[in-house]
């Protein structure tokens, strides 16, 4: 895609895009009618429960299910031996094979007539465990004498002689960092640690599976991607993909955590064995112990700066544990950490490490927040040491169009500088601070992507539009799609109704992730609308008896292209629709594409915090988000993404953490001690939407969902460090840690 200076949407006057209509699923969601994962029931339905390993690491010698099977009311028991599919990490994670690899790892499941019977049955399953030594800390797991989880998962990038828990090594960058450090007037090196956090969606995973003896199955599930669920589960069950129809329920949050499967294949297997529909719902404890939190990390970072604020070199070595299987998001941390800065010399090294913790899943810009945290903390410290303005230094070094990103490519049109300039001009930046208060700044970056997308748009006889897309609506995307269809077709928002179709209705759709939906599904929606427009123009041409090419579409009407085409009154979409049967049959548009060309996105966050020097308690006083959205289709939901990401980041920075005991068990598997921010912890979260159009989208849309969680860890850490008068180097900055840092600095 050429990086033309002019965007196709330049000068376009939008009528629907950029407004704030009520979302189409709104009434259902404020009246309790919306049906989420656990809200579905089917006739004859059983309930399924999972038996989970109490051990962090244990060989499973045998599982005796006979007593459970004999319990009246039990209709099926499933263990790993029921799955004959070839072993892979996702299946192993859904149901343990030879070893249980973390506290909470599923080892068996039961379907019974009631939860009470199912829970009784779980107690009757005898698992013979050989308990093995375990490791849950990333640095410990890399030691040569650490307990080893897998013998054969290390790949060719890992040098010989390391622990087998080290799975993969990544390296990025360019230039010569040593030469860069030699040019620096000031160098800061620090080591940081961040705890694992969970996406913390309020809706636990839930599904209802129904499989008949003919091998056809239906699955109702809360997921970020029902096509993914189908494509992953069918082979596990030895089914043809086409025989499994998956319907996405409303989804109660995901943030990346619902981009894989946990219960789904088990529910299908229980349904197959019992011959009855089976509903499975996780408890909150299950969610925290056995779904996919993000990585905990240990990172060393070194940055050099000249007295004028020029960053001469940046280096970081990052160690991420992603739980019991390969795939921590360390490469994205290593790629994204220095992305906001145009550096001559930069190098990052990443290590993917396994430990006896649940297999990580994506969490909003996976891997990037930790990278931004360490880099932005050290830049902040350098600015302090050199007495430089923190925003000016960032502006001086900011990546702009043509800059070579630390992960390789040169950037196209990007909006980082615009976010920094907006921050500098904002009253927040010059507002006075009181005693024990500090202000923190941080930038952040995320890639965004597109992927496979299918959209179908039917023109109904009365001129209304039914739009079908295949991506679960996790935060208002049906509203955005409705708006883009209405915009393109030139009809009112209320004339379009958008639904999330099941897997049998449309072609493949990638998961709702990577901030892709408004970009990719939006693009496909616009193209589907254009497809329908072409057909409608052709119908009008037929009616008028003129050439198709002589008809244009404007404001919801087909019109003759010019005086030479003939003199006909414009024909509205509704008029064309009413005559569809007479002019050739139903009219529909569709578009299937692997949407490429998602624009990267940058943000700058500003945070004021107050620290109680006697207790280490932190209060967030003020918070402002400046982020490039490319084009905000529904600004209220764009703001919502900014605010939600910022607050998840605040929680990560201050109080959220996975706490493992010496026994390798998770000590805080509940919302009581896994402390997500509550309403009284927070101020309003101000937002400033910057719009630097993405050349890869007809309206200029960039994904906005993920970037907003990248800067807050550092923005909060920098504010707290300023307020406390000491650099904090470990997340979360819980009160005991902050107090200890203050007391140590004073001693």
């Amino acid at each position: 895609m050429a990086l033309d200076d002019k965007h196709e949407a330049d000068g376009r006057v939008f009528k629907v895009v950029g407004t704030r209509p009520v979302r189409p699923d709104g009434i259902d969601k404020v009246t309790g009618r919306a049906r989420f994962g656990a809200d579905m029931s089917m006739p004859g339905m059983l309930v399924g429960w999972v038996l989970r390993s109490p051990h962090a690491h244990a060989r499973i010698r045998s599982i005796d299910t006979s007593k459970a099977e004999a319990l009246p009311g039990v209709k099926a028991v499933v263990t790993r031996k029921d799955f004959t599919a070839e072993s892979d990490d996702v299946l192993d994670n859904c149901m343990a094979g030879a070893k249980a690899l973390y506290d909470g790892h599923a080892v068996a499941a039961v379907a019974a007539v009631s939860a009470k019977v199912a829970k009784q049955a779980l107690k009757l399953i005898a698992v013979d465990y050989e308990v093995l030594p375990h490791v849950t800390d990333v640095d410990e797991a890399m030691k040569l004498d650490a307990p080893v989880l897998h013998k054969d998962k290390t790949d060719e990038t890992v040098p010989a002689g390391m622990s087998k828990n080290v799975i993969q090594r990544f390296e990025y960058g360019h230039g010569d960092v040593e030469a860069g450090f030699a040019e620096a007037d000031e160098i800061v090196s620090r080591s940081f640690k961040t705890a694992a956090t969970h996406q913390g969606y309020i809706e636990p995973h839930a599904c209802v599976a129904s499989m008949g003896p003919d091998g056809q199955a239906d699955l109702w599930v809360c997921t970020q991607g029902h096509y993914m669920v189908r494509n992953v589960c069918a082979p596990m069950l030895g089914m043809d993909i086409g025989k499994l129809r998956v319907t996405a329920s409303e989804i109660g949050g995901g943030f990346g955590g619902k981009t894989t499967v946990f219960l789904e294949p088990v529910a299908l297997m229980l349904s197959r064995k019992s011959g009855r529909p089976v509903k499975m719902v996780m408890t909150r404890e299950d969610v925290l112990r056995a779904t996919g939190p993000t990585a905990s990390t240990s990172i060393d970072v070194k940055i050099g700066m000249k007295k004028d604020g020029t960053i001469t070199a940046g280096w970081a070595e990052m160690r991420y544990q992603g739980g019991a299987y390969p795939g921590s998001p360390v490469q994205f941390g290593a790629m994204a950490a220095f992305a906001p800065y145009n550096l001559k010399h930069v190098k990052t090294i990443g290590w993917d490490v396994v430990t006896n913790r649940p297999k990580q899943a994506a969490y909003r810009a996976p891997g990037a927040p930790m990278g931004a945290y360490v880099v932005e903390s050290v830049i902040d410290e350098l600015c302090g040491n050199l007495g430089l303005d923190r925003l000016s230094v960032r502006l001086k070094n900011a990546s702009t169009e043509g800059a070579k990103a630390s992960y390789g490519p040169r950037f196209g049109k990007i909006g980082l500088t615009a976010t920094l300039e907006a921050a500098k001009a904002h009253p927040h930046y010059s507002a006075p601070l009181g005693p024990s208060q500090g202000r923190g700044i941080s930038c952040g970056f995320w890639f965004n992507f597109g992927g496979d997308t299918s959209v179908s748009l039917s023109v109904n006889n009365d001129g209304t539009i039914s739009l079908s897309e295949g991506n679960p609506d996790i935060g208002g995307s049906r509203a955005s799609m409705t708006m883009m269809a209405a915009e393109e077709l030139g009809i009112p928002y209320d004339s379009v109704r958008t639904i999330i179709a099941d897997t049998s209705a449309l072609g493949q759709n990638e998961v709702t992730d990577g901030s892709r939906v408004t970009f990719a599904v939006g693009l496909a929606t616009i193209k589907a609308a254009r497809d329908a427009i072409t057909k409608m123009c052709s119908r009008a041409a037929k009616v008028w008896g003129i050439d198709e090419d002589a008809v244009i579409w404007e404001d919801g009407h087909a019109k003759p292209a010019g005086p030479n085409a003939g003199k006909f009154p414009p024909m509205s979409l509704a008029e064309i629709a009413a005559q569809a049967s007479n002019t050739g049959g139903p009219i529909a548009g569709h578009h299937e594409v692997n949407a490429e060309g998602a624009g990267v996105s940058f943000a700058t966050h500003m945070c004021d915090a107050e620290v109680d020097p006697e207790t280490g308690a932190v209060k967030i006083l003020r918070y402002t988000v400046f982020q490039d959205a490319g084009k905000a289709v529904h600004p209220a939901y764009v703001e919502g993404q900014f605010q939600g990401g910022a607050v998840q980041g605040i929680g990560w920075a201050l109080n959220e953490e996975y706490i493992y005991g010496k026994d390798g068990r998770l000590q805080n598997p509940g919302f009581l001690d896994y402390r997500v921010p509550v309403a009284s912890d927070l101020p309003m979260i101000d937002t400033v939407i910057i719009e630097v159009p993405n050349p890869g989208h007809p309206y200029g849309v960039r994904g906005v969902g993920e970037t907003s969680i990248v800067p807050p860890l550092a923005a909060v850490a920098n504010a707290v460090s300023a307020a406390a008068g000491v650099r904090l180097t470990e997340l979360p900055m819980s009160p005991p840690r902050v107090l200890k840092a203050i007391d140590t600095a004073r001693a």
């Binding site: 308690a617 509550v678 912890d681």
Partner: protein, 285 residues
């Protein structure tokens, strides 16, 4: 499991005493139902005391207040009289959980749950509150501080039920306060809790004080050494410093997921100073 909702205290006592398996009282249920959900408690009998006359009553008695065992935090918080006399106790109860939990949670339940971190207990101990216990062998009054004997353990014997809690008459020029430390602003269990109740004479000199500490030992501590540092002083900065040091010295906390020994010990001293300052202001009116 059986569920019973007797209409009289006598029948409740009989049910509790007669149960051969495990029996639990259900007042607000905000602890019991959580323990049942997790499988921690699997009672054979649950006796709901909320249908018993008087359990929801707040009545004036001998210048003080008798609070029924089923009075939830929200109701106590709406009672102007108790709030005026014992604001520290009311505030402590109101700190427990959410608004939703306040709709159910009771002071008696908080006490009988016997958590070292129970918010209302240090405040009640500072207030010298007394629990009225009814059992098969009659009625007895027990100091609130003597109910819990260890985490999750109480001195109540088989069939005994707490019927009410009595907050004594408030002497003139007295004030109380309860402060706790939690990582968030709401919804957490106390990492440290501190209750202070003190009385001044006409000159502003402290003549009596009770200081209690929560979450720093297996049960709530009544810290008499700390109280002694206030008596005879004007509760000035010097006295507060001694108070803080005494409280920190009295702490015997543990390291756990909610806090460290070091943190709890230090913050107990910080909070007691702040709580005493609030109590002082209240005593001065």
């Amino acid at each position: 499991m059986r569920y019973e909702a007797p209409r009289t205290l006598e029948s409740a006592v009989a049910l509790m005493a007669g149960e051969k398996g495990s029996a639990q009282i259900l007042a607000g249920g905000t602890d019991l139902l959580v323990r049942m959900k997790s499988g921690f408690a699997e009672p054979d009998l649950v006796v709901d005391i909320k249908r018993i006359d008087g359990m929801h009553a707040i009545t004036a008695e001998k210048g003080g207040w008798r609070i029924g065992a089923a009075v939830p935090g929200a109701a106590l918080g709406e009672h102007a009289g108790v709030k005026a006399d014992w604001p520290g106790v009311v505030e402590a109860l109101e700190l427990i959980g959410s608004t939703q939990v306040q709709g159910r949670a009771t002071m008696a339940g908080n006490m009988c749950n016997a958590s070292p971190a129970a918010d209302s207990v240090p405040a009640m101990v500072a207030a010298d509150a007394v629990a009225r216990v009814v059992g098969p062998n009659g009625t007895r009054d027990v100091a609130v501080g003597d109910i819990a004997t260890g985490p999750g353990k109480t001195s109540l014997t088989n069939g005994e039920i707490v019927e009410s809690i009595f907050l004594p008459a408030r002497p003139k020029h007295s004030g109380d306060a309860y402060l706790r430390f939690i990582p968030r602003t709401e919804m957490d269990i106390a990492v440290v809790g501190v209750g202070v109740s003190l009385t001044l004479d006409a000159s502003g000199t402290c003549t009596a004080a009770r200081v209690s500490l929560g979450a720093v030992a297996p049960t709530v501590l009544l810290d008499q050494k700390a109280a002694a540092t206030l008596i005879g002083t004007k509760v000035d900065d010097a006295a507060l410093a001694k108070l803080a040091a005494a409280c920190s010295a009295a702490c015997k906390p543990i390291d756990d997921k909610r806090g460290t020994i070091e943190f709890r010990t230090k913050v107990a001293g910080v909070l007691v100073r702040r709580a005493a300052t609030i109590a002082l202001q209240r005593a001065k009116g």
